[in-house]
């Protein structure tokens, strides 16, 4: 029997699984499919905007996290505390550095990196692949796109940067290897760019456009496993720092991070099983004794001492709604904190600055991450919830998505490992 079964393989589930396995726990992660890691930027946001209603960019996440905890002690950061956020960051940095894919940044200082549409986004940790794009230094840029990669338009990036007073030019390359193909996706392109001949052709096409540019930005497709080598080689050929800009899904930097975390879990003795959708649980005497996943035939029971719910909120599919206006947690049917009336789920305006109330729905938990019933008591003694399934947080608007997921996963795993 497993000691810990984790439902969900996003950032929260992977972090919890890794840390628990590292402490010698027998861990299994079950997941419906790949998710958040393949959609996210590959950076670790701790907090980017606070207060969320303002447009104020957070420069120092430490101060912002402290403010969040004071304003809203129920916020996931309030459960975790600054020390565990710090500890999570250093554990993650160590693992990524050991994998030859370093992350850089400090909790007291956000980077300001360009997005794929040329806006500037604050983030706390960024892969070395991206940091030359930091906009707190002002040196001219060249943004390069690939003609066959339809998801990234360098002129959009450069135009928008120019509007913000940043000098940026753009260039579109048309590589022979891409011209020969009928289909291209970010992963295929990333793997092609690991070939030295392709790197040379790329550099040769860029050189005439370099002009006054002191650094060169690309969509985030500069290699999969060999990303750091690709970066160094391009820097050598171009004689300038090179950086990636996170582009559309599937996110190659997200996949690199996913790869590092899953490898870490497997080498710590944990197991990850994919394609398994959790559909229910067996409950006896205030405890959960099995979680069921759907299979090709009858539901399959996963028996375990403890269960960690890391299925994500409304966006991750861990909480669903139906046309009758019910908001449900799908695995254990835990009570969800949500606006009661369906008419209150959304504001009138799609891009309303206040965000839509439904996205704040989630589970209320205590300091041990146990979901609570209406009376404030743990619903089950052996069920825990982490990540964006939690209520009292607006991860998307706060830009705290990775931070909330990783920090809660880390903190819970440390707690469980200590017992």
């Amino acid at each position: 029997m497993n000691e810990i079964t984790i439902i969900g393989a996003g950032m929260a589930g992977l972090m919890a699984g890794w840390q628990a396995a590292k402490q010698g726990k027998k861990v299994k992660i079950v997941a419906k499919g790949w998710g958040a890691t393949h959609w996210l930027s590959g950076c670790i946001d701790i907090v980017g905007y606070y207060p969320v209603d303002g447009t104020e960019v957070v420069e120092n996440p430490v101060a912002a996290v402290k403010q969040i905890i004071t304003d809203n002690p129920q916020h996931p950061y309030g459960l975790v505390g600054l020390d565990d956020i710090e500890a999570m960051i250093s554990a993650l940095k160590d693992e990524c550095a050991a994998a030859g894919y370093p992350l850089h940044g400090e909790l007291h200082r956000n980077w300001l990196l360009p997005s794929a549409v040329g806006t500037l986004r604050p983030t706390c940790l960024a892969p070395e692949m991206m940091i030359a794009g930091d906009m707190r230094q002002n040196s001219p840029l060249l943004i390069v796109g690939f003609k066959q990669l339809m998801d990234f338009f360098p002129n959009v990036v450069s135009d928008n940067l120019n509007k913000q007073g940043i000098t940026a030019a753009q260039a579109m390359v048309d590589l022979r290897v891409l011209r020969e193909r009928s289909f291209i996706n970010p992963v295929i392109l990333a793997e092609m760019l690991e070939q030295p001949a392709v790197q040379k052709e790329l550099a040769n096409q860029i050189k005439p456009h370099l002009g006054q540019a002191e650094r060169v930005g690309f969509p985030s497709v500069l290699g999969m496993d060999q990303a750091m080598t690709v970066k160094k080689e391009l820097e050598r050929l171009l004689g300038r720092p090179v950086f990636e800009i996170p582009s559309l899904t599937p996110s190659v930097p997200g996949m690199r991070l996913h790869h590092i975390l899953t490898q870490a879990i497997v080498s710590a003795g944990g197991r990850i099983e994919n394609g398994m959708e959790a559909i229910g649980a067996k409950k006896e005497n205030g405890k959960v004794t099995a979680v069921y996943t759907s299979t090709a035939a009858r539901p399959h029971p996963h028996r375990s001492q403890q269960y960690i719910l890391a299925t994500g909120g409304i966006l991750g599919g861990g909480i669903t709604t139906n046309s009758d206006g019910d908001v449900r947690e799908v695995v254990f049917d835990l009570p969800v904190t949500a606006p009661l009336k369906q008419v209150d789920w959304f504001h009138q305006d799609f891009l309303d600055k206040r965000g839509h109330p439904i996205y704040q729905s989630g589970l209320s938990v205590n300091k041990q991450f146990q979901p609570l019933d209406d009376g404030g008591q743990p619903v089950y003694g052996n069920v825990f919830a982490i990540g964006t399934t939690l209520a009292h947080c607006e991860a998307i608007r706060e830009r705290s998505f990775e931070g909330v997921a990783l920090a809660t996963g880390y903190a819970l795993a440390r707690q469980l490992g200590a017992t």
């Binding site: 079950v30 289909f183 970010p186 599937p250 394609g275 299979t295 090709a296 539901p299 399959h300």
Partner: protein, 432 residues
């Protein structure tokens, strides 16, 4: 076991009540499947799952010609299903699309042949040595390549020269265990005609644990026909199996197979692709188990004997993609890990490439080998002490042997060997 399922609100359990095509509405265009598809990664002839299923699927209609013939390059490995975060039944949508192509333009003789695994098995087993000679002879293989499009290098199986599995089962009837506890064994065509020793190992393991084995009349599960677009023929075969197995299912017997693709077909592929919603197909689906899935249940209930003797070896194990499509985890891995001395190395390769009969086809042979490279490389990196590999699916084992030059065995053979019942080298029971 049955009890536990009743504890669930059955309304929550998907019962194939709507056509797989409807799941395409769930697609959020995240492209995760496109980057996971092992075929799209190695050939430009196939744009990838998202384009074939949720996208081209919108334009497929019974009365219209199929919008994209490239769907024929989908191997049906279901890696895409495994990673899709929203539950789109991509591989099944593609299989049904292939059916539409065959409706439009007919089924090539080659695909009919490859779909008739059982018939070929039967014919060959009358004259196995002659048939094997034909299959191993470069001249006849070149002719088959030219005439039918069956790749001359592809790893076709060899017929058993010691009789079929049923021959053995009948011959040894007097020695077979009689017991109150009974299981029904679905042997499948490969065990029947090519690898009867897999069935022997399974029977030995069942009996060692006190179960009497019933082998009822059965036919090919129909999967080779389903994946080659021959739905009508597959439907007849499936019906035969339902007719002959459903009484056992109704009585509460577990129906257990050693071929991961046969059991998957009984469980899900046939009902889903043929859109069968009747009670009997459903009962059969629920009664069907892969052998390690079933053994793991026995183990979790504390009922499995663990009197294993050590097997001192490093063993790369690949859970075939057809097995992963059962969505029951990796039960063979769970049990092999109990055997002392056995150092099991889990492969994370997506697919061996063969995907049933896909890699036998001349135009797809190289794609299959390129897909398999990930697995072959994994085996190589486990070092020179590796003497054998393990995989649950027969065609995958043949492909693995072809790609690594190492013998490959079914996990049940290792389990039987650890019980002291089976010789891994000779592939035969020890008492025979």
């Amino acid at each position: 076991m049955q009890d536990e399922f009743n504890l669930l609100d059955m309304a929550e359990v998907p019962l194939h009540e709507w056509p797989v095509e409807q799941t395409l509405d769930n697609c959020i265009k995240c492209n995760i499947c496109v980057t996971a598809c092992p075929v799209a990664a190695v050939t430009d002839k196939f744009p990838g799952p998202k384009y074939e299923a949720p996208q081209a699927g919108r334009f497929r209609h019974d009365m219209q010609p199929t919008p994209d013939a490239s769907v024929d390059y989908c191997s049906g490995c279901r890696v895409c299903n495994e990673v899709c975060p929203t539950g789109v039944r991509i591989a099944e949508i593609n299989a049904r699309a292939r059916r539409q192509i065959t409706k439009d333009s007919g089924i090539p003789l080659r695909n009919r042949l490859l779909g008739r695994n059982e018939l070929l098995g039967k014919i060959g087993s009358y004259v196995p040595r002659l048939a094997n000679f034909g299959l191993q002879n470069p001249l006849s293989r070149s002719m088959a390549d030219m005439m039918f499009g069956i790749a001359k290098e592809a790893p076709l199986p060899t017929w058993s020269t010691k009789g079929t599995f049923w021959d053995w089962f009948k011959r040894t009837r007097a020695q077979r265990l009689k017991s109150e506890k009974k299981v029904v064994y679905f042997n499948g065509c490969a065990t029947m005609y090519y690898e009867p020793f897999i069935g022997q190992a399974a029977v030995a393991v069942f009996e060692h644990n006190g179960y009497e084995v019933i082998v009822p009349p059965q036919k090919c599960c129909g999967l080779p026909m389903l994946s080659n677009g021959e739905f009508d023929a597959a439907s007849e075969y499936h019906q035969y199996n339902v007719d002959h197995l459903h009484d056992y299912a109704a009585k509460g017997y577990d129906i257990i197979g050693t071929s991961t693709s046969c059991t998957l077909t009984l469980k899900e592929e046939a009902p889903e692709l043929l859109h069968l919603t009747d009670e009997r197909s459903h009962k059969l689906s629920y009664a069907t188990w892969d052998i390690f899935e079933w053994l793991r249940e026995r183990h979790e209930a504390g009922e499995l004997k663990t009197d294993f003797r050590p097997l001192n070896m490093v063993l790369p194990y690949h859970a075939p993609c057809q097995y992963r499509a059962h969505r029951v985890g990796k039960p063979a891995l769970d049990l092999l890990e109990l055997i002392p001395g056995l150092d099991v190395r889990e492969s994370t390769a997506r697919c061996c490439g063969i995907a049933g009969t896909y890699g036998y086809k001349s135009e797809k042979y190289q794609i299959a080998m390129d897909v398999g490279a990930e697995l072959f490389d994994f085996v190589k990196t486990q070092g020179s002490q590796v003497e054998m590999t393990a995989c649950d699916s027969e065609t995958c084992r043949w492909q693995l042997e072809h790609g690594t030059d190492l013998p490959s065995r079914h996990p049940i053979e290792y389990l039987a060997a650890a019980y002291g019942l089976y010789d891994l080298e000779r592939r035969a029971l020890l008492n025979e």
